[in-house]
Amino acid sequence: MENIFKFQDLILSAPQMILISGALLILLLQVILPGFRKLLAFYITLISLFASLYFVTFGIPGTAFYGLLSGNPEGGTAFQGNLRLNGYIQHYSFLILLALTIILFFIKRVFAEQKLELAEVYQFLLYIGAGSIFTVSANDLMTMYIGLELSSLPFFILAAWDRGRATATEAAVKYFFLSTIGIAFMLLGIALVYGGSGSTMLSEVFPVVFAEDSFSYKLLAAGWFLIIGGFLVKIAVVPFHGWVADVYDGAPSVITAAMASIVKISAVGAVFRILQFMQPDMHMILNTGIIIFAVASMVYGNMAPLNQNNLKRVFAYSSIAHAGYIITMFMFFPESFKAISLRTEASSALYFYILTYALTTILAFATIAYLENGEERGLTFDHLKGLSKKNPFAAFLLSVSALSFAGIPPLAGFFGKLFLLKVLLSAGYYYLAVVMIVTSLVGVYFYIRIVFYAYWDFEDENATSGMLPPFRGIFAWSAAIVTAVLVLGLGFYSESIFNFARVASELIQ
């Protein structure tokens, strides 16, 4: 029996290991230090996240751990092939860590103001980061399952973090059932894939060749569809949208920001990776389903908020619509698209889109978290009246995120949609592109409505005055400014980011 442990394994999984160690350090310090300070936990979390970000970006010199900036690394596998590391996975890890760092800054301020700050919050954030990266980088369905659970269990707790508020606990229990049922379906899928191919390792499942009508082939197909279905629950597209609006509405707003961004990033990264391990002829069936789901999500997500008065629900429905746009990129895996390299185009368009989507959604929900400041129910449009005078910074942030969601040209969201449309059109999915354009034009109405309410001079604007606090906290200021600048400015660098992501997309496996 050869040595089953290599030190290289720990280096190749450095980001996850740093995050887990940080979380365990917080746990340990709470045991041995009597007067443990929340601030210390915050800094440990910050340092762990920055260290991971540094390693993901620049790599560890002299080892097999290549960073984001070292071209197109072939990467390697760790822990007997359980984890995969390559440029594509580094891209998604970077995105997860970036989103988590921004959210950390917001959480620090918002939870401190609402008297909800405990050291455990930071620990849970670290678990979420590690679990999400494990999900994306898993090369074995078993590891993927554990990573998914590691990233969703803390979310159940964080959703109920404001446990004295009835809506928060309701959101938590709904998210619990939504998520566990999704994961149970995925687990059944994993079992069927295991039954069909005799292995749970992705790179061993793929080469198995079947007769088209054999029993194993049917098991495998059913398994793959269930796994993709489980991920679609996580991405919250329409047939599975279920209680998503309730969950996003009820959970604390900063936690909603994390839910809407990080869960989707990791799920999209994982789905796009495992789709290529499906046998090629299953993709034709899957594509039909994806088209239906995508169209349904786009229509529902843009229609439902039209008469909606609750601001958080508007953004929750819009996240369903954006999930619809996102999953159109899952259709480029049949063999015919490989020849014209549409798959790498789709991968990098998806990456840019999810980057802009994550930043925008974090900005939107974090600003809402500031504005509501412990209100029992979320903000409505009426609360926004006169916002530009009372709190011009928040009005600006909210408008930037709304306009970026709407896809107004100089902002990042526009270029994200542009790339998706370009890929769809060059693949010949004209009707899908038309649906996408029409539904997002419908959506522009309620995004513009947010900007209108924030900036228009209303007669009765003093009716709701006094409940909008000023924007406070140096961390939150800096995070808000950085995010807003990214949302405003990423569009100008869209082409270079697109090309940069394309280099990594050539080696997705």
Partner: protein
């Protein structure tokens, strides 16, 4: 006596469906959590069956992980139910509708 694998797949699917039905139709949240556990454990059964069928230990290792995670999930779920009960004084899913529009 060897049992055909197809029968165990049928048994699993039946148990899994019972779990889904339980989650969808029962109103007591504790019973819903138990139904989720039935779903997870039916999958465990399938893993064991395939593991024996292939003479391969991977499936049984998976079962151990699923069991451990299911326990953690149940603990978190019950904790949420306690918090919910403090707010609503009920664990009937029909009474939990503060968020309904």
């Amino acid at each position: 006596m060897e049992i055909e694998i197809i029968r165990i797949i049928f048994l699993t699917v039946v148990l899994f469906s019972i779990g889904i039905l339980g989650v969808l139709t029962r109103r007591n949240i504790i019973v819903m959590i138990m139904s989720v556990e039935i779903m997870l454990n039916s999958v465990n059964l399938l893993f064991i069956a395939f593991s024996r069928y292939f003479q391969d230990l991977n499936g049984e290792v998976m079962v151990l992980f699923v069991m451990a995670i299911a326990a953690a999930e149940a603990a978190v779920g019950l904790a949420i139910v306690i918090a919910l009960h403090r707010n609503y004084h009920s664990i009937d899913i029909m009474d939990i509708k503060a968020l309904k529009e």
